[in-house]
């Protein structure tokens, strides 16, 4: 089971992958926005998104859990 965490404080701009989706390594899960820059958060392995912990409009802190992939 892989945990995808936020690398910095940011706003959750778009949630691209939904719970139950199959994703491949490198697929975009969510797009964060910080200081006018868009930062895609990518899957680091292939699998199914078992949990999406964020919603559009949330603010995430560094290390906050964004999604889980199995």
């Amino acid at each position: 089971m892989a945990e995808i965490r936020a690398e910095m404080v940011a706003n959750v701009w778009k949630v691209v992958a939904a719970e139950g989706d199959h994703v491949d390594d490198g697929d975009t899960l969510v797009i964060l926005e910080s200081m006018k820059m868009e930062i895609p958060v990518l899957a680091e392995s292939s699998g199914t998104v078992t949990k999406m912990h964020v919603a559009e409009g949330d603010v995430v802190q560094e290390d906050d859990l964004i999604a889980e992939i199995s």
Partner: protein, 447 residues
């Protein structure tokens, strides 16, 4: 002269505008969001009004809240700074309709120059050189491909209503054009509220050189010299200097004259900037866009001319003559501005955080325009600019040396900063030689 002004902005520019207002005896009113309550500008204003939550749409972009704050505090004028509502013609009209003085050009000029396609067409008619490009918005990929064939590759794809380098991309051929077009269009919609796209011939080895103009109350348009802004990452400026090491006397004369014609073509009033691209291979230049507001990098022009541009903005807005003799403008020495961003110095990714240490360099020829101080938190809601480190000296080598010491003497802990990048820039042979262009950072950071 009006007796009070509401500064409709935040951070370093709000602080800088408030400083001149206070020097002129004008009562300054600040507005702030939840995130900015502790920033220095809030405390340096005579009065401060909390206008909403941190999200810009609910605070700094809320025209109603800002005008209400002006009404509540009895402010006579509104200075919009840069970004946010500074180039929003509707906001300017609302300010004027509320009986307040708008410190900026006529809303019609803002509108004409805010649409990059319209601006290009207008400039062409005024005899200002423009690069081959769209005369109408490009509506879909098929139209983009046809337009690019007409213009010739490579092309730059950009948002017609855009600015700040956002939503731009280069396409070397039809294959890349589709992706560039889709990205530009979604960014255009998201950031500027309009999906209109334009294409322009891309100049591969270019310098971004802009001219500061001032439209005086009597209708005269002056050009106050140029600034070289070619040090860019993600099409956004990181460092600027004046004079431009890439502009000879003859080219400077031509560019300044063209900038004056551009200002005259729209009956420009106040401070504005005409941005151009200089083709380093043949020394020609073309009009890119005109910014109908004060620029971030205006301090370098102030340092070499001795003119306070915000003071001139206030005087023009009040219908008064400038504080200097327009016939006797002299530039002397060399000035450099380094933008200190809250981002890592290697990949330039945002690094917000609480500032635990903040110590600015001081001394002769050093000017720091800072938005933050120790104890403040840098949040993800706004652009990453922490401070502008500006240096002035008699010549370029001396300015570079002064800058090296100043960068070394600037201590910031908490958020990430690009100070280490600036140290690297100041020792980079291409930059030091003066012979650099807009692809400099891509050579410093190949990836």
């Amino acid at each position: 002269m009006f007796d009070s002004v509401l500064v409709a902005n935040r951070g370093e520019i709000a602080r800088r505008v408030i400083r001149t207002a206070r020097q002129m005896g004008i009562r300054a009113v600040a507005v702030y969001s939840d995130a900015d309550a502790d920033l220095p500008y809030v405390h340096e204003a005579g009065q401060a009004v909390h206008i909403g939550p941190s999200q810009p749409a609910r605070s700094y972009l809320d025209a109603g809240a800002i005008i209400e704050a002006a009404r509540k505090t009895g402010a006579a004028a509104v200075h919009p700074g840069y970004g946010f509502l500074a180039e929003n013609a509707d906001f300017a009209r609302q300010v004027i309709a509320a009986g307040l003085i708008w410190v900026g050009p006529d809303p019609a000029a803002i509108e004409q120059m805010g649409d990059k396609i319209r601006a290009r067409n207008l400039m062409e008619r005024a005899g200002v050189p423009v690069s081959p490009g769209s005369r109408e918005p490009v509506t879909d990929v098929a139209a983009a491909v046809a337009e690019a064939d007409r213009i010739g590759y490579p092309v730059m794809v950009k948002a017609a209503a855009g600015g700040g380098g956002i939503g731009m991309g280069v396409a070397a051929g039809a294959a890349e054009l589709q992706a560039a077009f889709e990205t530009a269009r979604s960014r255009a919609e998201r950031f500027f509220g309009s999906p209109e796209i334009l294409l322009e011939r891309y100049v591969a080895r270019a310098r971004h050189v802009e001219v500061q103009i001032l439209g005086l109350a009597d209708g005269t348009v002056l050009a106050l010299g140029e600034r070289d802004c070619s040090v860019q990452r993600r099409h956004q400026k990181v460092a600027e200097e004046t004079p431009s090491p890439g502009v000879s006397g003859g080219l400077r004369e031509q560019m300044l004259a063209a900038a004056v014609r551009a200002g005259q073509a729209v009956g420009y009033s106040g401070a504005g900037t005409v941005e151009c691209l200089v083709d380093t291979q043949d020394g020609s230049f073309v009009f890119l866009e005109m910014n109908t507001r004060l620029q971030v990098e205006h301090p370098v022009t102030e340092l070499v001319t001795g003119i306070d541009l915000v003071e001139q903005q206030f005087l023009i807005a009040a219908g008064d003559p400038p504080s200097f003799d327009p016939a006797a403008v002299r530039s002397a020495g060399h000035a450099l501005e380094l933008r200190v961003y809250a981002e890592d110095p290697v990949r330039f990714l945002p690094g917000p955080g609480t500032i635990t240490e903040w110590a600015e360099p001081e001394g002769d020829g050093i000017r720091v325009d800072a938005g933050y101080q120790a104890g403040n938190t840098v949040t993800p809601f706004y652009d990453p600019l922490l401070a502008k480190l500006c240096v002035y000296a008699a010549d370029r080598p001396s300015a570079l040396e002064r800058a090296r010491k100043a960068v070394a003497g600037f201590a910031v802990a908490g958020p990430k900063t690009n100070l280490a990048f600036h140290a690297e820039l100041l020792d980079n042979p291409e930059f030091v030689s003066g012979d650099y262009d807009t692809s400099l950072i891509s050579r410093m950071r190949p990836s």
